[in-house]
Every structure is written in structure tokens, then in C-alpha cells.
């Protein structure tokens, strides 16, 4: 692509101001995602009696859409994004409430709501919107020129959102939202005593979840003592990595997808381990780390607190999902339903990621002299 530096078209300005390395890294992830969906999902589709390429077609339809959304959002100014996020958050909170009245129960949780023929998962969308809105609220608390009780509203918003997520129940998303919120609060200058206080409260919350939510109890019990119950998916997943070795068995040559119900979704990393091998898996980890750390580096030079906090929230969401997913697959933490960004199958997840990464790219664009306001 050759775009002149002087090109003042929308595309031209985007190209010269956007973080092209991050765009490239996301492209690499999408490439691996496409490869893995081709390798893993036909076996899963055949097992559930669907057309072999059902998941492939679905994903290939969603992916350009998600990338298109990402591009479109990344064109927007931080201020527009704030407005979109506020609207989006209001909408997703309503949708979250709707899951309780008209949601479809899948695997013991009500996470899906059908909207105009589309089945969407509001908890995926709530994360980026929440991150932006909270970032703005925390930043407003520090703004000497406005008198908005940002922290108080952020706390209220947090309690509402996490409460709704736990009600579903979706502990994984609650953990992600909590971490986003906590990190932003921390960056926004939370006194160190309260940092420890909230950290302890979070740990206490997890312990509470263990005792109050039966499926969490069972997950953690099975993690701590594999003999206690069925650890089929994780065991198969570990076998897949061992079977893959350094160079893998080659794309499509794996066997774990024949056994794992979620081989195309939450356990796609195990398929990668078996078919692509250790080297490519390390490359995938490196790409995730690159996106997160490069994002942080860009934000480090940012002078607007709202942008810093918003970007951090989005990166924490993205990075944490990757960390939680890969750790579950590698049996480092109890199994947690969490998609691996851009690699796992899942329409809502992919669109929400497109939104989130679009916002991130918008935040990390160079804005000198463009007159764009936050």
C-alpha cells in the first residue's frame, strides 16, 4: 500500500496516525484464527450433526465484519468513542437484564439473548463499553474544572455490572470486568492502602464464589484434585500439547478436536498446541504480549488521563482474556469459559473485540495538530 504522507483523506490520515504494528499483530491473530477454525471446527460440527463448514462459514462471515467495525471505530475521536461507549453500556446493561427474562439457557447459564434473529451475548459487549465509561469517570474525578463525582459513579456502575454478570452466572466475565475496573482505579491514583484492601476484597469475592456458586465449587475442586471429578477437557488438552511437541503434527492433523466439545472455542489453543506445535504457540503468546505491551508503551506517552485509563482498560480486557484462556488450557488455573481473542470461534466475542480494539486503535493514534478533541 502506498499512501502519501500528505494524503489528507480519511484513509490517508488513519494510515499515518494509527498504530500499524498493532494492526499487523491483530491481522496475524486473525490469520491464526482462520487457520484454526478451519482445522478444528469441522470435527466439532460433524460431531454435533451440523454441516462440516458451519462454524467456518459463520466465522468467516463475522471476521470481516468485526475488522470493519474495528476500522470504523478507530477512525473516531476519543470523544465520539466516549459517547458511543455510554450509549453502548446503557444498551448492554439493558440486554444483560433481558437475559434473565428472555435469555436462552446454555450449559446452565443464561448468557444469550435473541435480538432480531441474531443471538448475541451482552456480557461480551459490556466489557469495552464499561472500560471506556469508567475511564472517563475516573478521569473526571481528577479534572479540576468539572465537579462530577466520577469515582462514586464508577463504583456504582461497577457494582451494577458485576452484579448482573454474577447473576447469570458468568464468573469469568465478572473477573475480567473487576480487573479492568480495579486497574483503572489503581492507575487513577487509588491510595495504596485501598489497593490492598480491594485486592483482598477481590480474593474474598473469589472465595465467596467458591462457596456460593456450585459450578465454581466443582470447577475449583476438580482443578485442585483431578481425581475428584471429570477433568476430561483439560486432560485431553494437556495430551494435545504433549502430542504436538516442538513443531506440531501439522494443521488439520491433530486428534484432540475429535474429543473436545469446545475445541473450536475455549480450547482452540490446545488445537494450536497439537497441530502447530510449541514454536507457533510461543509466537501466538508473543503476539498477544506484543499487542498488550506495545499498547501500554503508547499510552505511557499519552498526556490525557481519560485516554490512558480507557486504553489501559481495553488492553487489560484483551490481555486478561488471553491469559485466562491460555492458563485454563494449560491447567494453570481452574477451567474458565473465556474466548481467546481473535482465535476462538464466537460471533459476539469477535464483534466485541473488533469494537474494543477499534477503540484502542483510536486512542493510540497520533493526534498532534489534528484538532481532534477528547
Amino acid at each position: 500500500m502506498s499512501i502519501a504522507r500528505t494524503d489528507q483523506s480519511v484513509i490517508g490520515r488513519w494510515w499515518w496516525t494509527v498504530d500499524r504494528w498493532t494492526v499487523l499483530a491483530i491481522g496475524v491473530l486473525c490469520g491464526f484464527g482462520g487457520l484454526l477454525i478451519l482445522a478444528a471446527s469441522p470435527a466439532v460440527a460433524e460431531r454435533i450433526g451440523a454441516d462440516s463448514f458451519y462454524f467456518v462459514r459463520h466465522q468467516m462471515l463475522i471476521m470481516p465484519l468485526a475488522l470493519g467495525i474495528m476500522f470504523f471505530i478507530s477512525l473516531q475521536s476519543p470523544r465520539t468513542i466516549r459517547r458511543v461507549a455510554m450509549l453502548g453500556l446503557a444498551l448492554t446493561v439493558v440486554l444483560l437484564c433481558m437475559t434473565f427474562v428472555m435469555g436462552t439457557e446454555i450449559k446452565g447459564a443464561r448468557r444469550w439473548v435473541s435480538l432480531g434473529g441474531l443471538s448475541i451475548q451482552p456480557s461480551e459487549f459490556v466489557k469495552p463499553f464499561f472500560a471506556i465509561v469508567c475511564a472517563w469517570l475516573f478521569a473526571q474525578q481528577k479534572n479540576p474544572h468539572v465537579r462530577i463525582p466520577g469515582n462514586a459513579i464508577a463504583i456504582g456502575l461497577y457494582v451494577l455490572t458485576v452484579g448482573l454478570l454474577l447473576k447469570q452466572p458468568d464468573l469469568g466475565q465478572a473477573v475480567v470486568v473487576s480487573t479492568i475496573w480495579f486497574t483503572q482505579f489503581y492507575l487513577a491514583g487509588l491510595p495504596i492502602i485501598l489497593v490492598f484492601g480491594l485486592g483482598l476484597a477481590g480474593a474474598g469475592g473469589l472465595v465467596g464464589a467458591y462457596f456460593l456458586l456450585p459450578h465454581v465449587t466443582s470447577r475449583i475442586d476438580r482443578f485442585l484434585d483431578p481425581q475428584a471429578g471429570d477433568t476430561y477437557q483439560v486432560t485431553r488438552s494437556m495430551e494435545a500439547f504433549a502430542n504436538g511437541g516442538l513443531w506440531g503434527r501439522g494443521p488439520g492433523e491433530g486428534t484432540v478436536k475429535e474429543y473436545l466439545p469446545d475445541a473450536h472455542a475455549d480450547f482452540v489453543f490446545a488445537v494450536a498446541g497439537e497441530e502447530l506445535g510449541l514454536i507457533i504457540c510461543l509466537v501466538i503468546v508473543a503476539v498477544f504480549a506484543f499487542i498488550v505491551l506495545r499498547g501500554f508503551a503508547r499510552l505511557f506517552h499519552e498526556n490525557n488521563l481519560y485516554v490512558v485509563l480507557g486504553g489501559t482498560g481495553l488492553l487489560v480486557q484483551f490481555g486478561l482474556q488471553a491469559v485466562i484462556n491460555m492458563s485454563s488450557t494449560l491447567r494453570m488455573i481452574p477451567t474458565k469459559g473465556m474466548t481467546l481473542p481473535f482465535l476462538s470461534y464466537g460471533g459476539s466475542s469477535l464483534i466485541a473485540l473488533g469494537l474494543g480494539m477499534g477503540m484502542l486503535l483510536a486512542f493510540t493514534r497520533r493526534r498532534y495538530g489534528t484538532g481532534e478533541l477528547v
Binding site: P144, E239, N243, G244, L278, V292, V323, T370, E372
Partner: protein
């Protein structure tokens, strides 16, 4: 240049980084914003560090589970081409006492197919039917055209058939290597060796009782049996079964010094290589599993009991002229003798009345105790699982005691009787029988059941039965054979004795100067026919006439085979073996 006013916070938050507003005094707001930005940058470093750490740990863990974990062997070959397990001939051979193979394991291939990958089932069925004569084309077609992904086509192909199938070059056909147990001697030792199933699991005989040992060891298991004696015993018994159109027969040859069973035959028999044709009658082991009322051979024990308890001597006279009546039963002799005869003659003519008179002088308890010590009241101890339990009367009343005296009312297996009678013949010491070869010079543990003196008298009686009694048919010149005959009336299907269904037997020992071997033959339900030359028995179906000639021929054939030289009957030997009864010439009736 226009003086630069302090920037309002939201005036240009996206100002270039190189733009330093320090040209003017910073406002309060600026300081606060910068301070909070400074703090957030520091804390951003901490957050970034946490992520770096997390991704680093994940990378290490990845390397750990991928490379350092020893893969589960079951998983290790997931996705790898299936490697056929090397054939292992784990099950040990079974050989006879001279090392002749009785059971061995060979590799064989079984043909299976994945019908889903078979393109032309009709054509393939036709080709396979030509190669596999045992399979029908229509059956093969049905299997090959089915919707399954696995069907057996034929088990155990010959190497030539396997080669021909491979030459077809049809994908979707494959072989399963299998072990196959082969019994080279066929039916000859079938009841001893037993047989195993397709998976090599022992189901009967030595194959079953030594299943675990055979599965673990590749050393051959050496049996006590001699396949040559198996052949002789089988042939001679079969001859009598054929001549007398009997339902079956059984025989045992034993080395009574060591307790080794040199031969054990049960007829009709079966071929362990072909279990499809086997019926229960052929699998049934008459020698160890069958229990029968043995008839007059029990007089061996009755006589020994009376001699041992000194209630009788060889010359003590008993009046056998009158049948004994008890309740509705009458005990009589087949060939009545109307005067008193001595004990030796009661043995030799096999008098039931005399035997009852002898046991009447003893209590039933003494009799039961003695038979118990001889092992006749408990299942035989021998190394195959097919062991019949004796049918012991309970309570053991006087009437039982009387009938048991001549071998009725107590059912035992032939091997039990052989062991007990051998103890009587061989110095009064009971030795366990075995089917496993004993090392040379082995002294089996023995249990004294009779005094040496009684045993010596019994040896004279055995010999006397052959020289002057019912056992004449078993005589082989030069081998000093001693014997006792037995003819029991079998119990019919409706209870009560069958008058024309006999169990006719003869048990013999030789040489009586120092008994080495026991030969025991039983013919089950022989049918007499005066006009049948092969019977040469004038219609008699007693032990003497049916089993006797078989024993005679067996001894005559086996003695040279075992290297026994004929013994010249010196006067000393003759005197030692002769029953000494003053003033009596033995009078013999065939029984």
C-alpha cells in the same frame, strides 16, 4: 511571539508531546493533572510488568507441557500410523515326559474389513470366496456391503491365504495378528492337556489349571504322561469299546512308585484343535470327573481292612452259601458257591456274600475311617480342574457298610480308586497322583495306610486273582501281573440298578514281586454278543472279559517300551507270591 497562556485542561489535551507549556508558570490544575498522570504512568509500568510476567509464565508452562511431559503412551500414538504390536508367543508349550509337544502357540492372521471403504463388495466377495474355502460368497457379500466400519471376515488364515489376500491389493482389508494354540497330538491327550479359547485363555485341563503359569513362562511345562502310552491305552480301550459296542471307556496307567500318571484316557474324546464339533459327552473326563460305583474292585479295600484289623486271615473260612437279606434287598453272588470258602478265595472268586460277612465283623465307622484315609471320600487331588466329588452315603449305616464292601453305594472317580488301590499294592503307602513330571529320583511324600504285612498279603491276593481267580485274562507271562476285576451294575436313569448296564473294570499291577506300574481299564456299558468273534467272551460283559484282554495287551505292549525285562519266576518268587492256604485247592468262578 505571542505570550503563551497556561493551557486550560481541556483546551488541547492532544497537544504534541514535544510541546512544553513550562514557558509559563504552571497553574494549579496543571500540576494536579501532571501529578496524577505521573502516578498513572508509574502504575501503568506495574500493570505492564504484571502482564509481561503472566505471558512469560505461560510461555514456560507451554514449553513444560509440550516438551518435558512424557506423553501418555495411549496418547503418544494418537495421529501416528498404527504400528502392529509385535507378535509375542507368550504362552508356554506343554510337552509330554519325553519332550513331545502336546500344546504350542503359533502366530496366525485373521482377516477383517472396513466395509465403508470397500468400493466393489460383490467383486471382492467373489475373489475372497475363491481364496477362503470356508467362507460363503453370499455371507462375505453381506458383510462387505454392510454399513459397519468393522467386520471379521475369517479368523485364522493360513500364510498362503494371507498372501493371496494381500495380492488382491484391496484397501479396506486388514489382518489382525493373533496367537493360535495348536495341539499337535490332536485328541490323544485331550483330556489331560485340555484346551484354550481363541484368546489363548485356558478353559480346561492343564491349560486351565496352569493358565497363569503358562501365560508367564516360555519354558515348556513337562507333563508326566507319555504320549506313546497314551496311544497304546487309547487304542486298546477303543478296541474293546468297539467290540462290545460300549458307550465309552477310560483308563489310567500310573507309575506307583512316584505317583506319576503315565497315561490317562477318556473315551469318547475330542480334538482340542477343533472345538466347534465338540459335544459334552466327548469333553467329559470319565477318569477324573466321572464318579461311579466301582463294584468288586472295592473288595481290595474290604479285604485289606479285614486283614489289617485282624478280624480275618487269608485262610479264615466264611460260609457263602446263603444270600444275605436286609429289608427288601438281597445280596447274592452271580455264581453261587454252596459251602464255606477262605478269604483268599472270596477275593479270587469275588464273592459279594463273603465280603459282606467280612465287613459284618467290623463297625461301619472303622470302614469309613479306612476308606477316608485312602482318599476315597474326598475329591481326588490332581492338577486338572475336572475333578468329580465322590458320592458318600450320609448317614453311613450298616446297610451302606455292607454294600460298600463289594463296591456299591459309594461312587468314586477312577483316579481316586487308582490311587487308593496303588497304595494297597505298593507296601501300604498312599502317594498322591500327579500329571506333572517328577524329577529323577523323586521320593513322593507318602502316608502309611496299611501295615507292611497286610500289604504283602494283598500282593499275594492280587497275584492269586490272576493265577487262580477272575483276573486270568490279564496275565502276561514274565511280568507277574496282579489284578482285581470289578463289574458294577450301573444305576439307570430312573434309579435302581440296570441289569444290562455294567461298568466293567480291571485294575492290575506289575510286576507283583515289586509293583512298579498300575494299569486300570474301565469299559462303560459293554453289550455281550455270543456270536461276535471280536468279543471272544461268550456273551459275558464282566470286567474280566471286557477290560481284562485290554489290560493284557496294554501290559504286553508297554513293558518292553518302558524297558522292563520279563522276569523269570524263580521258585523263591513263586513261593513269596503264592497264597498259602492249607488243604485248599482254589476253586474259581469267573466273575
Amino acid at each position: 511571539m505571542r505570550p503563551v497562556a497556561p493551557l486550560e485542561d481541556d483546551d488541547n489535551p492532544c497537544r504534541p508531546r514535544h510541546y512544553k507549556p513550562t514557558l509559563a508558570a504552571p497553574s494549579d490544575g496543571d500540576t494536579r493533572v501532571n501529578r496524577s498522570l505521573e502516578l498513572s504512568r508509574n502504575r501503568l509500568m506495574v500493570t505492564a510488568g504484571a502482564f509481561l510476567l503472566a505471558f512469560g509464565i505461560i510461555s514456560l508452562r507451554l514449553a513444560d507441557v509440550t516438551l518435558l511431559k512424557t506423553p501418555d503412551p495411549e496418547v503418544a500414538h494418537l495421529g501416528q500410523p498404527v504400528v502392529a504390536k509385535p507378535a509375542h508367543f507368550s504362552r508356554g508349550d506343554i510337552v509330554d515326559r519325553n519332550g513331545v509337544v502336546l500344546a504350542t502357540t503359533l502366530e496366525s492372521s485373521s482377516l477383517f474389513a472396513n466395509p465403508r471403504t470397500i468400493a466393489e463388495p460383490a467383486k471382492l466377495a467373489k475373489q475372497l470366496a475363491r481364496i477362503l474355502p470356508g467362507a460363503k460368497e453370499s455371507d462375505l457379500y453381506a458383510k462387505l456391503a454392510s454399513d459397519k466400519s468393522f467386520v471379521w471376515l475369517q479368523r485364522r488364515l493360513t500364510p498362503a491365504q494371507e498372501h493371496q489376500v494381500n495380492l488382491l491389493g484391496v484397501p479396506g482389508l486388514d489382518f489382525q495378528r493373533e496367537e493360535r494354540r495348536i495341539y499337535p497330538q490332536g485328541s490323544l491327550a485331550a483330556h489331560v492337556v485340555g484346551y484354550s479359547d481363541l484368546d489363548g485363555k485356558g478353559l480346561a485341563g492343564i491349560e486351565r489349571s496352569f493358565d497363569a503359569a503358562l501365560g508367564q513362562s516360555t519354558e515348556p511345562l513337562k507333563l508326566s504322561v507319555d504320549i506313546r502310552l497314551q496311544a497304546i491305552l487309547k487304542e486298546e480301550i477303543q478296541k474293546q469299546i468297539d467290540a462290545f459296542t460300549a458307550v465309552g471307556g477310560t483308563g489310567i496307567i500310573m507309575d506307583i512308585k512316584t505317583g506319576e500318571v503315565l497315561s490317562l484316557i477318556s473315551l469318547p474324546d475330542f480334538d482340542p484343535n477343533d472345538l466347534n464339533t465338540v459335544v459334552p459327552e466327548t469333553i467329559f473326563n470319565r477318569a477324573t470327573l466321572g464318579v461311579y460305583e466301582m463294584g468288586s474292585v472295592f473288595k481290595i479295600f474290604n479285604t485289606a481292612l479285614a486283614l489289617e484289623n485282624k478280624t480275618a486271615t487269608l485262610s479264615k473260612m466264611y460260609d457263602i452259601s446263603k444270600p444275605i437279606t436286609i429289608g427288601r434287598f438281597t445280596i447274592h453272588d452271580d455264581e453261587p458257591i454252596h459251602h464255606a470258602i477262605p478269604v483268599a478265595q472270596i477275593f479270587a472268586v469275588s464273592s459279594n456274600i463273603g465280603s459282606v460277612h467280612m465287613v459284618q465283623e467290623l463297625s461301619p465307622e472303622i470302614q469309613k475311617d479306612f476308606l477316608g484315609r485312602l482318599g476315597l471320600l474326598r475329591p481326588a487331588q490332581i492338577e486338572i480342574p475336572e475333578i468329580g466329588s465322590p458320592q458318600v452315603p450320609n448317614p453311613w449305616r450298616e446297610i451302606n457298610s455292607w454294600t460298600i464292601a463289594f463296591g456299591h453305594g459309594l461312587s468314586v472317580s477312577p483316579v481316586q480308586l487308582a490311587v487308593a488301590a496303588s497304595a494297597v499294592a505298593d507296601g501300604g503307602i498312599l502317594k498322591p497322583a500327579t500329571l506333572i513330571k517328577r524329577p529323577a529320583g523323586f521320593q513322593p511324600p507318602g502316608q502309611r495306610v496299611l501295615s507292611p504285612r497286610t500289604a504283602e498279603l494283598m500282593r499275594e491276593l492280587f497275584r492269586y486273582d490272576v493265577t487262580d481267580g477272575t483276573g486270568k485274562k490279564a496275565e502276561v507271562p514274565g511280568y507277574l501281573v496282579g489284578a482285581k476285576t470289578g463289574t458294577a451294575e450301573k444305576i439307570g436313569a430312573h434309579g435302581g440298578y440296570m441289569h444290562h448296564g455294567n461298568l466293567s473294570s480291571l485294575i492290575s499291577f506289575f510286576p507283583m514281586s515289586d509293583p512298579q506300574y498300575m494299569v486300570y481299564v474301565i469299559i462303560d456299558e459293554p453289550h455281550g454278543d455270543r456270536n461276535n468273534k471280536a468279543q471272544a467272551s461268550y456273551g459275558f460283559t464282566t470286567g474280566a472279559w471286557t477290560a481284562g484282554p485290554a489290560v493284557q495287551r496294554i501290559i504286553a505292549r508297554m513293558a518292553p517300551l518302558l524297558g522292563l525285562k520279563p522276569i523269570e519266576e524263580t521258585p523263591e518268587i513263586h513261593r513269596a507270591l503264592t497264597v498259602d492256604i492249607p488243604g485248599m485247592g482254589p476253586k474259581v468262578a469267573a466273575n
